[in-house]
Amino acid sequence: MMRRCATAAACLFVWLQPAPGHAQEEAAPVEVPAIPGEVIAEGAPVTVPCTVVEGEKADLVSVTNFLLLRGLDCVESFRKSTEETFAVVRSTLESPETQSRLLNRFLEGDHGWQFLKDVNFRVKAFESETLGEAALGFSYDYSKSVQSHDLSCSRDACIRGLDLQLMANGNVAADADRNPSNFLETQLSFAWFQSTGGVSAPTAEHRKQFQGLRREFIEAEGDSDEEERAVRNIEALVRPLLSDQIYWEIAGDAAFESDQQFESRQWAYGVHAMFEIKAWNDASALAKFNLLDYPFAALRALSGYEICAGGGSSCFKPRGTAWPSVLAGLDRVSGAENTPRELAGVSSDYDRLRLEASFRTPVARYGDDELFISVNYRYYEELDAPPSVQVLDLDSFEFFTVVLGGEDGIYVSYSDGRLPFDLADDQVFALGYQFHR
């Protein structure tokens, strides 16, 4: 058996893999030159000279593999041969993305810390236009149903239930002053939720056709045109059966809000209502008249995103699934300590209105990839705020985030505004690259 590598970096990686049945300690080391396309006999005892990357630009993956797989025995000569590369490796290992991956790998292990995986710890760098230099930190995000209960609903396509949910999220920076969203929320929410509509009653014939097409899909060779054709046939069969779905919930909430040092903190008790409508069928009036999606539908038409009836690719097709979801809440805020409001000399409990809206829609296609825009807006307002709070502009807070990016690859995000406990607006701009397992 032979192993072939196409590039110098790939060769380096191949050489770093110990040959099956030949532990490297037992084999006499033989230096192998870095020749792209080199064919290496399987099982031949090979080793990598420490200077393999000398004089050439090694990419980050190969250099990182080199260090991780071969240990530190080569680091000294590696440093001498190319200090610049070593700096790149260090910055790679220190990057939030690498640390998040290492942390995730650790959390996947079989030990008592696995529950932390559900908490979604992510190492992050916080960079703010107004606060200057970046700060390292982490974010966490946890959401879990503690208990749920089914309630009867006589209509078709109707789900109704009760749900007790625990949620927590926030950002923590090594230097709290550099945290642009220094606001942690931990809350328990008891919701009555209901979803109605979404699918109009299919006939037995529809179900039979679906099962036939699904069998074609399963039997088709993986990644083949035949497989994709079967999926498209299923989409064509089922999408006309979709209808408008209305989802709403009403909930009682108890939340603890603080900054990351827990110096500023307060409790909030209240209720919220959330409403969402999805017109899953393109023929729905709610889809045709979703004016908010018109600009994005125009961009999709220009980029040839849509496949239109008749095979054209420049039709104007607003999305009925891109209606914003809306949440409104009313809270009683109490027990405030060291909040900006209290520091302004007002320590009384108060009522707070909060609003939130979210939506996401595709805007273009480039090659096989899609580009989406997502927007989230939050608003908090103290009701009947005393003049001293109004004068200091502490009676309302708003914050919005817009992200432009695809499933993978480059993304751009921009956040503006402030959250409760923030004294001033902050603008955070991020340009990054995301990739997934």
């Binding site: 789900i159 179900r207 997502s374």
Partner: protein
């Protein structure tokens, strides 16, 4: 966790539901590793309350497809709300994968083919 496989109806049905609902355009082989935050409904920066509610909404629509169109049944002892919540917990976690979503669904639904 069972390997991502077209012959597993939990995997196939979850993938098809997500394609029908335009949550992804990926092919089956690439969909298993797709993170929930890559699905079309997922909005960055929203509060946990909003995310949890939107996750329940999408899970409800997946439930509709599973039960009404795909002719799947709930496992014995499972309820509509419980099944929706099980899927919603995965959908509210951006780092979870479609594969994990399918395995969560498998706990609540009997996906074996029903002859009508």
């Amino acid at each position: 966790m069972a390997e991502w496989n077209k012959n597993n109806l939990a995997h196939t049905n979850t993938f098809l539901a997500l394609r029908i609902l335009a949550q992804t355009k990926r092919k089956f082989s690439a969909a298993g590793n797709l993170a929930v935050k890559q699905l079309e409904f997922f909005v960055a920066g929203e509060t946990p309350q909003m995310r949890a509610a939107r996750a329940k909404s999408l899970a409800s629509q997946m439930h509709n497809l599973f039960v009404m169109v795909f002719a799947s049944r709930l496992e014995q002892g499972a309820t509509n709300a419980g099944a929706v919540k099980t899927m919603a917990d995965v959908l509210a976690d951006g780092e979870k994968t479609v594969h994990e979503l399918a395995d969560a669904a498998d706990e609540k639904y009997d996906f074996s083919e029903q002859i009508e």
